[in-house]
């Protein structure tokens, strides 16, 4: 039992705890996977978007740079022919840079530096025009100074080497503008296709810084331009640019080359910046997930608790039902159920049964024989279930206890009623019928306590076709047991004849319903009794009738049927004789006279007379010698009941309790030497009489002995 309880406690919604836990884990894993997947895809999308933004910025910056670069290149290329034309006239040549500056506002400086020795007048000649940043005024200077030594400068050498336009490495111009600059330089060829000079245009890179600053796609991103040699030209955050290493995965780097210049644009974006949003969303999702999981766990716990409570309840219910079943079995075991009930008797035949509903019931019947009297009862406790069952057992115990000392049905019922109404706090009551049938005479004394009147099935000896007369027994209903304390129950009496039957029942029979809710009723109940049966035959007939009527409709109440079939050839009393003796052994001879009288009246044989005299003397002697204390005066009351076929002695004394029927049998086959002196008297009584009964009633010993004659 406990095992099943434990097993069921560990189940939630029909699953084991393990399965439930697995469910929770799967749910959590699914949620988590969804979150991660969402995060990954969002991250990927955001990174893609960041890339696009960065590349778009790069393109924009590149365009802007190219504008300036194109201007500078254009300034040189467009004025190349002028430079070539003025090569031989240095005075005119120095006007060219000035003109370049005037036409191109992006160009902050320009020079045309002659190859050393090209001019006869000036071994070195490099007129230089520069724009004052503050005033915008164009100044004409010369780079042909000894300190500067322009022929060794990168911008002068590289164009000759590459034979084409060349963007110099950025440099800080201390002389001219005090700013970061880069120079586009292009060789100028003379008419003989020899390089005669190098024509340059300088651009300031200060605007680049501003441009870069405005091109940051994310607040913590930084943009940079590096030269061909990897020199940092401009950077919005040079410290971080320097610190950034290619291996740092937390930085996303986007770069694009600037055409012709050898520069590289770079935008570096910290991943944190890009993913800040998605991480924020991810965090929110995670918090919501955790809340969701907590909710799931709480809900599951609540369900599990309820489930366990429910399981416990149903387990308790099962235990309860099991106990009810046991209770029912105990109840049924108290009722005589073995039939034929008295296999050795030919004067009485009984059949009875309770067809119980599933629960314990409140129906009862009982019977037993004491002093050649059949004590019987039937009862129906109000209500159903355990309370009714308890009252039923109490009722039956009371019947047994009370009828053991009382022979009057009214006294039995009254005593039971007094006991039951004394402490009847639950207002339970019992309809009850009690009868005492004298098996020798057929006299039936009965008392009804609010129960259905039994049915008398009278044998009709004149009828050839086994017809019977069926009538409800005339009863005073009185009141059910347990209601009115000290109620004066009325006793009634009839005499049963040979082959009469009495049918007792509870209202479960008459109130049995079929599917159409019709009740079985008394007429249907009495119908099967019109044909003669024995006790079990009547029982089978009524059971069949009820079953055929009810068919499949559920039984709502206990059904109890109880048939008493009286089969004694009634020996009616012819005469009664009475003798009272004192406890004096000298009175014994009176018994002989008493027997003589009886013998004359009954016309007994001499043998029977002597035998009866002997039995009587032995019984009475026993009382005279042993019932009363020595010297005390006592009486022995002898009543002889003479019937057609029997003589019965009822011997009563008020002495000490003594049941002679319990004296052990003596062994009459022993040889004389081994025979004991005592025990002969009782032995003779038993041998002579056909039945010997003892009872102790009202402080009296009552010995009843009967002999068929």
């Amino acid at each position: 039992m406990n095992n099943t309880t434990d097993r069921s406690e560990k189940k939630i919604l029909g699953m084991s705890i393990g399965a439930g836990l697995l469910l929770v884990i799967v749910a959590i894993a699914t949620l988590e996977a969804t979150g991660i997947l969402q995060y990954v895809y969002t991250q990927r999308a955001i990174k893609k978007e960041a890339t696009e933004r960065a590349e778009s910025e790069l393109r924009g910056v590149n365009h802007r740079i190219m504008d300036v670069v194109n201007q500078a290149e254009g300034a040189v290329i467009n004025n190349m022919w002028v430079a070539q034309w003025c090569l031989d006239n240095t005075d005119n040549l120095k006007l060219v840079p000035q003109r370049v500056l005037e036409v191109n506002p992006s160009v902050v400086g320009s020079t045309i530096a002659l190859m050393p020795g090209y001019s006869k007048q000036h071994p070195l000649y490099a007129p230089y025009a520069t724009r004052d940043i503050e005033t915008g005024e164009i100044k004409n200077l010369s780079l042909a100074t000894e300190e500067y030594d322009y022929p060794s400068q990168e911008w002068f050498v590289m164009p000759q080497t590459v034979q084409d336009g060349y963007w110099s490495e950025p440099y800080f111009d201390e002389g001219g503008g005090n700013m970061m600059m880069s120079t586009f330089a292009m060789p100028v060829k003379d008419s003989k296709d020899n390089i005669a000079a190098v024509f340059t245009a300088d651009i300031s890179l200060d605007w680049l810084a501003e441009l870069m600053e405005n091109s940051k796609p994310y607040p913590n991103a930084f943009c940079a331009v590096t030269s061909r040699n990897g020199q940092l030209m401009v950077c919005t955050d040079s410290a971080r640019f320097m610190a950034d290493t290619a291996g740092d995965a937390s930085m996303l780097r986007y770069s694009a080359p600037v055409k012709r210049t050898g520069w590289t644009l770079t935008i570096t974006i910290p991943e944190d910046d890009i993913l800040a949003g998605v991480r924020h969303v991810g965090l929110m999702v995670k918090i919501l997930q955790i809340l969701g999981i907590i909710m799931i766990i709480i809900i599951l716990r609540v369900i599990a608790k309820n489930q366990i409570k429910y399981k416990n309840l149903s387990a308790q219910k099962e235990v309860m039902q099991n106990e009810l079943r046991i209770g029912h079995d105990i109840q049924m075991s108290m009722i005589p159920k073995t039939f034929p009930a008295f296999p050795k008797r030919t004067d009485i035949d009984i059949a009875a049964c309770i067809i119980p509903t599933k629960e314990v019931g409140g129906d009862l019947y009982d019977f037993y024989i004491r002093d050649e009297k059949l004590f019987f009862c039937i009862g129906d406790v109000s209500g159903k279930g355990v309370p009714a069952a308890l009252v039923m057992t109490v009722t039956q115990s009371l019947f047994r206890a009370t009828s053991g000392r009382e022979s009057s049905p009214a006294k039995i019922v009254s005593a039971m009623n007094d006991s039951m109404s004394e402490k009847n706090e639950n207002s339970m009551f019992v309809t009850f019928f009690c009868g005492v049938l004298d098996l020798l005479t057929g006299q039936l004394r009965y008392c009804n306590a609010g129960h259905n009147p039994p049915v008398l099935i009278a044998n009709n000896p004149q009828s050839d076709n086994q017809q019977t007369t069926v009538t409800p027994l005339s009863v005073q209903s009185n009141v059910p047991l347990g209601i009115v304390p000290a109620f004066a129950f009325k006793e009634q009496q009839i005499t049963l004849n040979y082959d009469d039957s009495l049918f007792l029942y509870t209202d479960g029979i008459t109130e049995a319903e079929n599917a159409a809710l019709d009740q079985f009723g008394e007429d249907r109940m009495m119908a099967p009794f019109h044909k003669k049966h024995d006790a079990s035959g009547y029982l089978d007939a009524i059971r069949t009738a009820v079953t055929d009527f009810v068919v499949d409709a559920p039984q709502s109440d206990d059904l109890t049927v109880f048939v008493i079939h009286f089969l004694a050839q009634v020996d009616s009393i012819k005469q009664e004789r009475h003798l009272i003796l004192h406890n004096d052994i000298q009175q014994i001879p009176q018994l002989a006279d008493f027997m003589e009288t009886i013998s004359n009246e009954k016309q007994l044989s001499q043998n029977d007379t002597m035998s009866l005299n002997l039995a009587l003397e032995e019984a009475v002697t026993n009382i005279i010698l042993y019932a009363y204390p020595k010297g005390a005066d006592g009486l022995v009351d002898i009543e002889a009941v003479l019937r057609e076929h029997s003589i019965e002695f009822i011997i009563t004394d008020s002495g000490v309790p003594f049941d002679p029927t319990t004296v052990p049998e003596i062994d009459v086959t022993l040889p004389a030497e081994e025979r004991s002196i005592g025990g002969l008297g009782i032995y003779l009584v038993r041998q002579i009489m056909d039945s010997v009964h003892y009872q102790r009633l009202d402080n009296k010993n009552i010995l009843t002995m009967l002999k068929n004659v």
């Binding site: 000298q586 002997l614 009459v668 086959t669 022993l670 025979r675 003779l684």
Partner: protein, 100 residues
């Protein structure tokens, strides 16, 4: 109840007459004590005039019979009526005595 005891030829004969009921048994108990003295020989209980016997009477018979067992004599019960024979039969006394 009367008992006449006659002693002749070494045989003690008791003639029982009347009803040997309980009070009578008490009455005749001394006679049976007297008979026990002859228990070494043959004791004849003539019951031809005994009309009734109860258990107390039977006990006297039995006591005498036991005495003969001790002393090596025997008890002969003679001329019992059918009624008393029936009682003897019921109580197993028929087998304990020599019935004539």
């Amino acid at each position: 109840m009367n008992i006449n005891i006659d002693n002749s030829n070494g045989v003690t004969t008791a003639n029982l007459e009347g009803r040997l009921d309980t009070p009578a048994s008490t009455e005749v108990a001394p006679c049976f004590e007297q008979l026990k003295e002859a228990a070494g020989g043959t004791v004849v209980l003539d019951c031809s005039k005994l009309s009734y016997i109860s258990s107390s009477g039977l006990r006297l018979f039995l006591a005498l019979r036991k005495e003969t067992s001790v002393k090596g004599g025997k008890v002969i019960v003679r001329n019992i009526s059918d009624n008393i024979r029936q009682v003897f039969m019921m109580t197993g006394f028929l087998n304990m005595f020599e019935i004539q």
